[in-house]
Amino acid sequence: MGRISRWGKLNGVSTFAVILIILAVLFIFSFVLGRYPISPGNVIQILFSHFIPITHTWPDIMDTVVMNIRLPRILAAMMVGASLALAGVSFQGLFRNPLVSPDILGVSSGAGFGAALAILMNGNNALIQLSAFCFALLSVGISYAVSRMVRGNATLSLILAGMAIASLFSAFLSLMKYVADPIDQLPAITYWLMGSLASVGSKGLAFAAGPILLGMTILILIRWRFNVLAMGEEEAAALGVNTGRLRLIIIVCCTMITASAVCISGTIGWVGLVIPHIGRMLVGPNHKQLLPVSLVLGATYLLFIDNIARLVASVEIPIGILTAIVGAPFFIYLLNRSHRGWA
C-alpha cells in the first residue's frame, strides 16, 4: 500500500539515477573482465583517448582489446537488453497484460525461421542477420494484417493472430531443422536459437543501432500515452486518443527494435518479460517512469548476464539459457517478496 508514496515522483527520479550509476559502473567493470587483464583506470583512459587527446601509456594491444573486441560486445549486450526490456514493457502496456513478452506478435519465430533459412543456404553472418531481420518484420506484418481482417476487439484479435502466425513460423522453422544437414547446419541453427553475443561485430552493431535508437526514441517520447491506453481501448478513445494509430506506432517501434536486437543476438527470452516487472516494483506502474527505468534495467541485466556467459565456463554459455536460469528464480523470488500480485 505505502509503496507508491514511498516511490513518489522525486523517488522515481532518484531510482533512475541509482540504476544509471550501477549501469555505468558495470559498463566499465565489464571491460576489465576477460582473459587479457586490463585495469579499470586503463579502460577509462582508453575510452576517453578516442574523444580527447591523452598520452598513450598503454600497449596498442590493450587498445585493440578494449575498442575492437570488448566494446562491440558490451554495447551489443546493453543495446539488446534495453531493446527487449523496452519492447516488453511497451507491449505489456499496449495489451494491458503483464504476462505479455516482446515476441507476442511472432518476432522471435519469424527471426528464427529467417536465420535458419539463411543458414540452410549457407549464408554468411551478414545474410543470416538480414534474413532474420526481414522475416521478423514479415511475421509481425502478417500478424497485424490478419488482425485487421478480423472484426471485433482489436487487442484480442492481435494476440490471437500473433499466436497463430508465431506457431506457423515455428512450424516452418522445424521444417528447416528437419531438412538441415545434421553435421554443420543443424547445430548452427540450434546455436543461433539459444542466443549469443559472441559473433556480434561492429558492422552488425551499426546495422542494428539505427532502427533501435529510432524506435526507442519514439517510444520514450510517447511514454505517458501508455497510461491512457492502459485505461482500455474504449476509454482511451473517449479520452481523445486515436487508439488505432497509437497502437500501430507502438507495434512498428517495438518490432523495429526487437527485430534488430534479435537478428544480431538470436532469440533471448525472459528479459522482455521479467525486466518490466522489476521496473514496476521499483517505480510503480506509471509508464512515464517505468519506460526509462526498464530500458536501463534491461541494459544492465543483459550486460551482467553476458559477462557470466563469457567468463564462468571455459566454453561460452549461450546467453538465452542464462537469462532463463537466472531470470526465472529471481522472478519468483521477487513476486513472492512484493505481495503485490502483478504489480
Binding site: 507508491i4 497510461n227 482500455g232 474504449e234 481523445g240
Partner: protein, 261 residues
Amino acid sequence: MKYCVNKAEYHYDTTKTSGFKDISFSLQDGEVMSILGPNGCGKTTLLKCLNGLVKIHGGTITINSRDISRMPQSDIAKSIGYVPQIHQPAFPFSVLDAVLVGRAPHLGMMESPQAKDVKIAEEAIERMGIAYLRDKPYTQISGGERQLVIFARVLAQQPSLLLLDEPTSHLDFGNQIRLLELVQKLAATGLPIIMTSHFPDHAFLVSSKVALMKKGEFLDIGTPDLVINDSNLERMYNIKVKVVSLDSGINRKICVPMGSG
C-alpha cells in the same frame, strides 16, 4: 453549451434494422437527462454515438453548432466526458496517476502532465472528496471509491457535457444514492449530463428530462412527471407498474412493480 441530436440513426448491420433510428433531442447547461429502456434497446450504443466513439449512419449530432462527425476525437474529448459502465483496471496506478489520465485530450502526443495538470487533477480529486486516496493504488480501493476516481478523471478532462453509462449499476444502495447526489451537484454547477439507467426511480431523483427507449426508438421524452407513468412503463418493460406519489412530507413519486401477469 448547446447540444443537439437530430434524427440520429445507427444500424449494426445494413441488412437488419437493429440499432436505433429517429433519435432527436437537445440539451442545455445544467440539465440532467436520463435514458431509460429495457436491456438491448440500444441505450449503450446510443451513448457511445453521442461522443463519436461509434459513428452514426444518419442524422447529425452537434455541440455548440459544431458537427461532432467532423471533429477529431481529441477535440470531442475536450468537450464531452464519458464514464463507462464499469472500469477494468489493468495496472495498479495511484489514484492521482489514474485521474491525471483525464488530461490526455489537452496534451499532445509527446507531452506528459505538467504541474498545472497535476493541480487540475488534485482539484478534481478534492471535489470528489477522495483526497485521502490520492496516493493509493486504485486497484486496492472499493468499487464505489473507484467509481469516484473515474468521476475525478472525467472532471480533470474539463468537459462541457458528461455522458454516464449506467453509473449506479455496480454500486450498493447507499453508494447509488450518493452518486445520484453527486450527479445533481455537478449539474448544479451548470454541467449538463446524459445518463442511461435501469431505475425509473433514479430518473425521478435527478433528471430534468427523461427519454424512454424501446427497440431503438424514443417512445416518449419530457419531464419525469409527464413521461414516467403507468402506461409508458408497461409499454417499455412489459410489466404492470404503478407510479405512486408519496405523501407524509416526502413529496416524491416512486414506481411500484405489480408483476408481469
